[in-house]
Symmetry: C2
Amino acid sequence: MNLKELATNLGLSPTTVSRALNGYPEVNETTRERVMAAAKRHNYLPNTRAIRLATGRAMAVGHVIPIATKHEIVNPVFADFIAGAGETYSRNGYDMVLSVVPDDQEAQAYRDLQSRGTVDGIIVHAPRLDDPRIALLREVGLPFVVHGRATGTKDAYSWLDVNNRRSFQRATEFLLDLGHRRIALINGLEYMDFAIRRRTGFVDALAARGIQPDPALMFSDEMTEGRGYRAALEMLKSRNPPTAFLVSSMISALGVRRALDERGLKLGRDVSIIIHDDELSYLRNGDDVPIYTATRSSVREAGRQTAEMVLDLIANPDKPPQSRLLEAELIIGQSTGPAPSK
Amino acid sequence: MNLKELATNLGLSPTTVSRALNGYPEVNETTRERVMAAAKRHNYLPNTRAIRLATGRAMAVGHVIPIATKHEIVNPVFADFIAGAGETYSRNGYDMVLSVVPDDQEAQAYRDLQSRGTVDGIIVHAPRLDDPRIALLREVGLPFVVHGRATGTKDAYSWLDVNNRRSFQRATEFLLDLGHRRIALINGLEYMDFAIRRRTGFVDALAARGIQPDPALMFSDEMTEGRGYRAALEMLKSRNPPTAFLVSSMISALGVRRALDERGLKLGRDVSIIIHDDELSYLRNGDDVPIYTATRSSVREAGRQTAEMVLDLIANPDKPPQSRLLEAELIIGQSTGPAPSK
DNA sequence: GTCAGGATTGAAACCGTTTTGGAAGCTTGG
DNA sequence: CCAAGCTTCCAAAACGGTTTCAATCCTGAC
């Protein structure tokens, strides 16, 4: 059942039927109802492909996922972000198209998406220091919003980010206030922008109290359970072990905790941990009361909002770049306590 | 730059240009080269929307993700599967479109996808006992492949699954051979097909040795760290605790391990654990040597292959339903050892 | 030199919508 | 009673490709 059939069926022209269905004012209310009813009766749905060609809009937003030789975006955070963004898209009649490409073809993927007209806009994931994708997308001329920011980029662009610096600064202060002086940072890869900002927050907070950060207590790598475990174990074995850990991810923290258990150290008493909690759907920080003290910010909600921003940008292409900075809340769990007196 | 412009530019008809680019045989080799060169020079890429309308094919495969009140598909396994499937799609010039919808609208989502012509095929995730989606998709008439199976469905359908029953049977036998008699099963939700099959494998293996499964040692819930932790702790505290755990997911196992540590039990000596390892990219079971003894099967590879199957089905709509049963390998890690003699 | 038949190319229809530019029919006010 | 102005509808032209059908150009056989 297509528009033309429906039209002849009703004794109307395709034009009128189209207008009736799309809510144009110049159609008689009674005929509109007649059309609506007929459409429902034949459960007619307009063909997306035709709409797209006729309107020149793709009604879709693209997410490019580089399949990596090195660092992968395909991580737990990504899944929840996508879920959040997807909610927004469905609500607004947009499709979400994922492009999984080898990372050396990422630039070409964006170019393709634009010149084939597959999508109307893009969400950029996991921005890095001085990320080249921003200049690229600007050149290509595709509306885009960055989830995160790219330190070092001079041009204006739209982004949504968590205030990573601030949240890690506060977390560090919280530990300092508890008397901790040897605080370890288990961070993500520090060419990722969020990791850089978290590190800055950490270092700033220490500096404000006149503490020189100890390189031996600053670890940066992929955020896996294993890396967290090994880094923490290493530090705990050292001559001057940390009394607290600031951990960039729940998963790394699982490893840190394992190291603690292995060393016979009690969480919250012997050693404190603060994590960043993205509120992943399958890695809750406790069901009722939080297990870990954490800087918390829902990545799913970030997905929802970033998607809203990109839809807004698509609808108003001339709008200047927008940005949103979400504040993570510091929630107090059972994983922190006063620094043990030696 | 569109086809018509390119054609006039070359002094050719759109027909010829189209044919040249699409590799039709009836075009002179030299003109083809001329066309190819011009296309590259002007970096012309055909408009997806036009192709889709003209050919009637969407060149896209859909994945519907119900956003759940209850169980969510948005889980770590899903991300890796998607990444694998996405690889296959890109390689074949297909798009992947994700539809995130409230779970009570899932059926309608499939219907829409079909009648609007947004996709040419579907991959069905997380099948359950007697899953209604199979009958629905068959009725709707959209080619589809199920990742997993749906016990109880009588109609034939295409699927790709891991031999869950067999792998858990083998794992159980392995533990039995090590002398374990009280083996706990930490399973996923048992309305999910994979969980049912794993349970069956577990129970069958016990039965074959004349062991009556103890309901107190069989746990079924969402596979989170927290649930795993609590279930294991409960069991370990009981009067007659298990000496081994068979765990359906790496994440649950992290919780089980935490419970062990908390009880002061040494993994592999006091208590053995076998997990199912989906080879998630960010939750590796050890970098070099496996930490856990595991039934291993790459969900990413499953994604690749399932996608291949659906593309094949789209290309050959009259083919009878296909299926692939992948065998998980049993890899020996450091988490299993002989049952402790009382 | 002619002609059949393959090799190339092109004109035009088509895919299913939206949208532009009228054109009827009906009011309405002078 | 008529022109102006609304309403309400429609024919036809996009949108940017693919595909059918027909036309032209060669080539070699006779």
